[in-house]
């Protein structure tokens, strides 16, 4: 078959080829998720079983080099919860107010600077955030709050910054999606711009704003590099008032030790940590899907 007839064959079957190509690409994505799922659970679940699910999830000692080793990940679960909650505390109000400002108050010339800046914020690699955290936030926390600076608080502030672009971008479009007639209706009743924005427009954009928060939480839970650079990483169960002390998250636990895992249950235990993380993320995504459904998008 000559090259020319091959080209004409492709031309004639363009639509069909394209269709199969798209189907293939889509299945690749599904296969990737499926494979991750299968291998994670295959390698992680037996370890969990071996250690004992209860011991694994509620144990407060993570001591892989002891004999016998201890694999309790409660400190890390709690650690992840702390820094995520902290990120919500710092990032969510800031992000929502920023989104309201961008959608309803920002003068056009300022918007032209602000919007690309926020997009840029979304594109900065997390190791750069981590570096910023090390050289700016860690000393800041050390000097103002005490401790050595590598702490729950530092990681929370940094994560709060990192989830800003997600929250701002999605909330802003949700606010912009509220029909203008709704705003007009409020203003026509004698409501001020601020009142109409905060009492009518923002509530009307509620589900979109919630979605942005959940996606932000997803990012905070999964963030690894930046967190491990500023969080201190001690596998110790902390109480909330110890926010200026270090903590280790689930993600940090994996990345810190996977490279030199001891023989035996250590490596599977780290993978099982990934399973727990995976379940967290799945819960968050399910929540997101439910909200979207409620919204009817």
């Amino acid at each position: 078959m000559g090259i020319r007839s091959l080209i004409s064959l492709i031309r004639r079957n363009k639509e069909r080829i394209a269709k199969h190509l798209f189907a293939l690409s889509a299945s690749a994505a599904i296969a990737a998720v499926g494979l991750i799922c299968v291998f994670l659970f295959m390698q992680g679940l037996p370890a969990m079983w071996d250690i004992g699910i209860f011991n694994f999830l509620t144990g407060t000692d993570w001591q892989p080099d002891w004999t016998p080793p201890r694999f309790g990940i409660l400190p890390m679960i709690v650690g992840s919860l702390y820094v995520t909650a902290g990120a919500i505390l710092f990032g969510v109000p800031t992000g929502i107010f920023a989104a309201v400002f961008m959608a309803k108050f920002c003068p056009a010339p300022l918007y032209k600077i602000l919007k690309p800046a926020i997009n840029l914020l979304a594109g900065i690699p997390s190791v750069v955030y981590g570096y910023f955290g090390m050289v700016v936030l860690v000393p800041f926390v050390r000097e103002n709050f005490g401790g050595n600076g590598n702490s729950i608080l530092t990681a929370s502030i940094l994560l709060g910054m990192m989830i800003l672009p997600t929250i701002i971008t999605i909330s802003e479009s949700a606010i912009r999606a509220v029909p203008g007639e709704i705003y007009d209706g409020a203003v026509a009743l004698g409501a001020s711009h601020e009142h109409a924005t905060f009492r009518v427009i923002l509530p009307a954009a509620k589900s979109g704003v919630m979605a942005s928060v959940i996606l932000g939480i997803g990012r905070a839970v999964g963030e690894t590099m930046a967190v491990r650079m500023v969080a201190g990483n001690q596998a110790v169960l902390r109480m909330p008032h110890e926010f200026i002390r270090g903590v280790r998250t689930l993600t940090a636990n994996i990345v810190l030790e996977l490279g030199y895992a001891y023989p035996g249950d250590h490596r599977p235990a780290l993978i099982a940590t990934g399973v727990v993380l995976f379940v967290f993320v799945m819960l968050i995504n399910t929540l997101f899907a439910i909200l979207k459904k409620k919204e009817g998008v």
Partner: protein, 252 residues
């Protein structure tokens, strides 16, 4: 008998950037009357009604000269625009209930203006819904989303919402154009009833509607008020040829 003027318009000209949408409008809108604005699309009638509560302020590049007096006081002078809009309520072409409960929709206005007492709010909501002839249909679903109501019900809810802040004037910008005939009839009936307590200005594309409900009619064309007078007179013996052509259906 000459009626008291609610609105007096003096040489009102209005531009959207370079486009002049209203040209030298002079008119008196009497209190407790229903005044209808008719005319083909783009004739300026909606623009004019939006000038009466300064909703045009929200449109960029909108410029207005001349003066509009409400109870002999300029609405462009030393006046709080939010207070103006409280006095001059508005119902829009497309029902625009807030995506919240029926109760909260009606309570929004009073809350905005500082009423916090639950008892007072309940009272206002019930009275407004009664006045808008929708109380019986929604009294058992006050906590339900306003978006679950039918289009006609939503529009009456919007009327109730406008009434909740006790305005003097009700501006209605084609309030029935998105509704079926039965809902339209209900709203027309309601508007006639409301005339006793409110001055009503209504923009309509529907000339039968103007004859059915209005006392005064203004015919607009290309930004000009071509003819203005008693509704029966306008529709029986129009003076201007263009007005006659329009109402007899020769154009528009």
């Amino acid at each position: 008998m000459e009626k008291v003027s609610k609105f007096s318009l003096k040489d009102v000209n209005l531009w959207y950037s370079d486009f002049q949408a209203l040209k030298n409008i002079n008119m008196e809108i009497p209190a407790n009357f229903i005044t209808a604005f008719i005319g083909p699309s783009g004739c300026g009638k909606s623009t004019l009604i939006k000038s009466l509560n300064r909703m045009n302020d929200l449109i960029e590049g909108c410029r207005i000269t001349g003066d509009i007096l409400l109870d002999n006081e300029s609405i462009h002078g030393n006046i709080d625009v939010n207070m103006l809009r409280k006095r001059v309520g508005m119902v829009f072409q497309k029902p625009n209930p807030f995506p919240m409960s029926v109760f909260d929709n009606v309570a929004y206005g009073p809350r905005t203006h500082g009423i916090k007492s639950k008892f007072r709010l309940n009272e206002i909501v019930e009275k407004s819904l009664c006045d808008a002839a929708i109380w019986d249909e929604v009294k058992d679903r006050l906590k339900k989303s306003a978006l679950s109501l039918s289009g006609g019900q939503q529009q009456r809810l919007c009327i109730a919402r406008a009434l909740s802040v006790q305005p003097d004037v009700l501006l209605m910008d084609e309030p029935t154009s998105a509704l079926d005939p039965i809902s339209t009839a209900k709203i027309e009936e309601l508007v006639i009833k409301l005339k006793d307590s409110y001055t009503i200005v209504i923009v309509t594309h529907n000339m039968q509607q103007a004859t059915r409900i209005s006392d005064r009619t203004g015919f607009f064309l290309l930004g000009e008020l071509v003819e203005y007078g008693k509704t029966e007179r306008i529709f029986s013996v129009p003076k201007d040829k263009r007005c006659e052509d329009y109402i007899t259906g020769r154009f528009g």
